[in-house]
Assembly symmetry: C2
Homo-oligomer: 562 residues x 2
């Protein structure tokens, strides 16, 4: 019985990608160091570097005409470079929600019946094509998000591509452990029963992806590829200020689908503007069943409250650091300062609250006072922020004005160890920059420590002792959630207690991070991003639940002998 | 780093059960004929048969004192035998919700940190012990649900045990594909980073299981064992009229936990009465995170509406049958009649609506008229219902009076081909019995065909042709949901079209069931029960999502070199 829309060319393509996908799955299961795409720019050709920049420049102030979807009109986007403060001047085809949903319905009718191996083939192929655009996406990301160039390249390029491959690997794991067909026979003595059983994975429906301005590609890729993998068409609704990077991904996917005889509208780019947002209208449509979202907790709570939706949300938490004891304070301070400064703290995994025991911190034979620890942290921030090369390379720029105001508001009401300041970007004098504020609280109960102040900031918080620090982390995690949490301790018993307590609150923990590893970063195939079990979000990149909640097994039994 | 509460005896026990669990997992993945416990009573010892009956008789009119949990008082249950119409007279320890939740919290603190292999060992062991009680549970089930003895034995005994083993096998699959520990190393040239990564599966919280009166064990086992497997303690709240069968399971689990040094309150029996229900109070507690439920759609919708809960619901649908063409009408009619009569239609998978083309049904060379098909079905029901041995063995008794009234109400307002009637049970003259009503609608649009009339009934519905029948099934599935759907066709093209259409509505389909196989039945390790994708329910026994929604992976990163 032929149920599926098989195609010889797509099947050939699968044979080309199969072993790579299996390798990725094995890596995901082993969770040691592995990548699909190298993160060093020098691993790619020099032509690619040059072409990326040229393509970016050629795209500015022109319609983005690479999509294979018709729009009713061209919408000039709200995208403004945080570096030049000039609009990108790119227009995108605007599609009304009703038309977009109709096209998605039509695409669903075909896409769900493409054998999943063929879907994987096209999706792997699209990532391969995307890798040839890593340098264009780097510039597009830099000039929409404010990320420094290297980070923009890595986060939107190889790291995002790796997270997409990872989502496919997990989907392959979850789809392939049930056979498409099994013949069940049972001997009843006088007679025999023979039943052919078919197991069909059916998507829950159409997917909607609502993107974020700070990570317009990295945060989209896992959900986008997970939904496509299980046969669900996706409407990609980027943040109106960061469309270009993900528009590239959508264009490449559409091109790939079309090249292999499928409707490009299996994925559609749905643009809107700051003035006229469209996300609610899409989210509330009964046709949209699956919603992926990264962004503020309020809109996240609204999405969660919609009946009949399956949501994958990354909202926000308040990330904490606790310093119980250290090997070497300077190394610890440098590491924390880097994590707080990276992309000016505009990462969901950036630390905010640093809990320091009033009784001091043991450092090998020495005992450091609270003030010595606070001073070391402030100095490390200062060293980094005032370094002419490090500052632009690490901090980048602020994505939007509101973040600037948020940090100003925070600074106005609290004790300040170090003021947030503008730094002069060597290349872009107009850049919207801000070095981290180092604020200080009197106690962990102060209300301003229990809110996220998204942006370049670190809040030092004295606690009686490490035990009180642990309790504070636990309460904060339960109340607000965390996407990262760092603990410094040389005491194995304390470590064990911290793991027991905080893992029960589903807090992802990092112990004694120093040198080249930072708590902000999670690597595909080895680290989960988020746990999905605390208020910061209900999903994780990428565990099995990220995949299996998107589809259902439908069993068909065909009785051959009764 | 030792995080877990390991125990040498439990580990020994795991070594004893490991290969069996792996075998079960392999069966689940292959989905061919396999079972953990044979369904033939004769596979068990004669002593077991006799002891089961004796134990049952000894339990009547006495406190159920086998639980390892204290109650504030003894509650005499509402259990009444549908066969003798006499109260069972069994009392159970009554625990107030607050105390029960406190005990569950305490149990959670330990149970979540028992290594999952040791949890599996205890759970497999408990099922093994339960198998020695299959004959007692058969009597207990018969005299609470009204099931005939053989069905009570199979459904609450080996079939329920198999579904529990299956849930453990899937949980093992989902917990074991991520390693508990991985060492991640990366060479940075000048330095090397080494990170120990620990992956901890953490339960979402405490589980509540709300049972149903018709299948007090079979419908509980998958969710109960799934939650226990991932480290979540379970409050089992049976239907007040069917406590005894599942109380046996709880008692055995508690005994097993205690024997291996763990709190018996990892699972607790929470009883209530028809007059004073307690389920809402438990469900609404913020401590309860996971809810499994089988029962009416209204209470199911209420549970679904509670914020912050993870629900696994089997509500109800309206199951349909479509006869497009047949090999032999009598065989088809016998099969449908059996499915409608089995346990007097008190199964969530029993067929209700039979769509028959007005233009008739092809049977090999013959063309049968609508009336011939309707007559064949009515005759098959009559033959079965009037057979002195078949009726008691297949129909059993009605669990409650309301089902009797429901069928009476249905019969009062519609055209009737065969009246529902009492039959005299040879052994229990007081038994509440009812043979199936065969009603008839004028068209598939009639409203009474779009509601579930739970009980012994079959509604014949003329449709213009098979295409209209298919459309009717699709609409019904979308609107009300289905837990089973039978189609009879000898046309491969029609079959393909039916699969395409109905699988998109997540309807589990059975084609041409005849002889010894019936659409009501799903077998563990091969069949999913429900799809979770239509209004009849949001869960399936047992797919990966049934497990992974109950826990989160929490990753701990311990930096050895930075």
């Amino acid at each position: 019985m032929e149920l599926y829309l098989s195609d010889a060319r797509r099947h050939e393509l699968w044979k080309r990608h199969e072993s790579r996908l299996r390798e990725a799955l094995q890596a995901w299961q082993q969770r040691t160091y592995w990548y699909a795409y190298p993160e060093e720019p020098k691993a790619y050709s020099e032509e690619a570097v040059a072409k990326g920049e040229a393509d970016f420049k050629a795209q500015l102030n022109r319609p983005f005409d690479r999509l294979r979807q018709e729009g009713r009109r061209w919408l000039i986007s709200d995208e403004v470079s945080p570096y030049t403060r000039e609009p990108l001047g790119i227009s995108y085809p605007w599609v009304d929600p009703t038309t977009a949903l109709e096209r998605a319905q039509e695409a669903l009718a075909q896409w769900r019946w493409v054998p999943y191996t063929e879907r994987f083939a096209l999706l792997m192929e699209s990532i391969e094509h995307f890798s040839r655009r890593f340098f264009e996406v780097a510039h597009a990301t830099m000039h929409t998000t404010g990320q420094a160039w290297m980070m923009a390249f890595q986060a939107s390029g190889p790291h995002a591509a790796d997270r997409a491959v990872e989502a496919l690997a997990v989907a392959y794991h979850e789809l392939s452990h049930i056979p498409p067909h099994a013949r069940w026979t049972r001997d009843f003595g006088k007679s025999q029963a023979v039943i052919d059983k078919y197991f069909i994975p059916q998507p829950e429906g159409i997917s909607l992806h609502i993107g974020v301005s700070t990570f317009p590609v990295w945060n989209v890729m896992p959900g986008l590829y997970a939904s496509l993998a299980i046969g669900s068409p996706v409407l990609v609704k980027p943040h109106p200020r960061a469309i270009y990077p993900i528009a590239l991904v959508v264009a490449i996917l559409q091109e790939t689908f079309e090249a292999y005889g499928l409707p490009p509208t299996i994925v559609q780019l749905i643009v809107d503007s700051v003035a006229e947002p469209i996300a609610k209208k899409l989210a509330e449509s009964p046709l949209v069943r699956i919603i992926d979202y990264t962004g503020g907790p309020e809109f996240g709570a609204y999405l969660e409250s919609l009946p009949g939706k399956i949501t994958f949300l990354e909202k926000a938490g308040v990330n904490g650091v606790l310093i119980e004891s250290v090997e070497e304070m300077e190394a610890v301070a440098r590491n924390i300062a880097f994590s707080a400064s990276l992309y000016s703290g505009q990462m969901c995994t950036a630390p905010q609250n640093v809990y320091i025991p009033r009784e001091g911190v043991r450092a090998k034979e020495k005992q450091l006072s609270y003030d010595e620890v606070a001073a070391a942290l402030t100095k490390a921030i200062e060293d980094l922020a005032s370094h002419p090369k490090a500052a632009p390379a690490i901090l980048g720029a602020l994505q939007n004005e509101e973040t600037l105001h948020r940090i100003e508001r925070l600074a106005a009401g609290v004790a300040v160890r170090r003021q947030a300041q503008n730094y002069v970007h060597p290349q872009y004098t107009a850049a919207r920059t801000l070095t981290p504020l180092v604020a200080e609280a009197a106690a962990p109960t102060e209300t301003f420590t229990r809110t996220e102040h998204f942006g370049p900031r670190l809040i030092l918080i004295p606690v009686k002792d490490a035990e009180e620090g642990l309790t504070s982390l636990y309460q904060l995690a339960q109340e607000k959630g965390m996407l990262s949490c760092a603990i410094y301790t040389t005491d194995p018993h304390f470590k064990q207690r911290a793991i027991r307590l905080l893992s029960e609150a589903a807090v992802p923990l990092s112990f004694n991070f120093r040198g080249q590893v930072f708590i902000n970063q999670s690597v595909a195939f080895s680290d989960f991003h988020g746990t999905g079990g605390n208020p910061a979000g209900n999903a994780s990149f990428t565990d099995a639940s990220f995949i299996v909640k998107r589809f259902r097994w439908v069993e068909i039994r065909d009785c051959r002998e009764g």
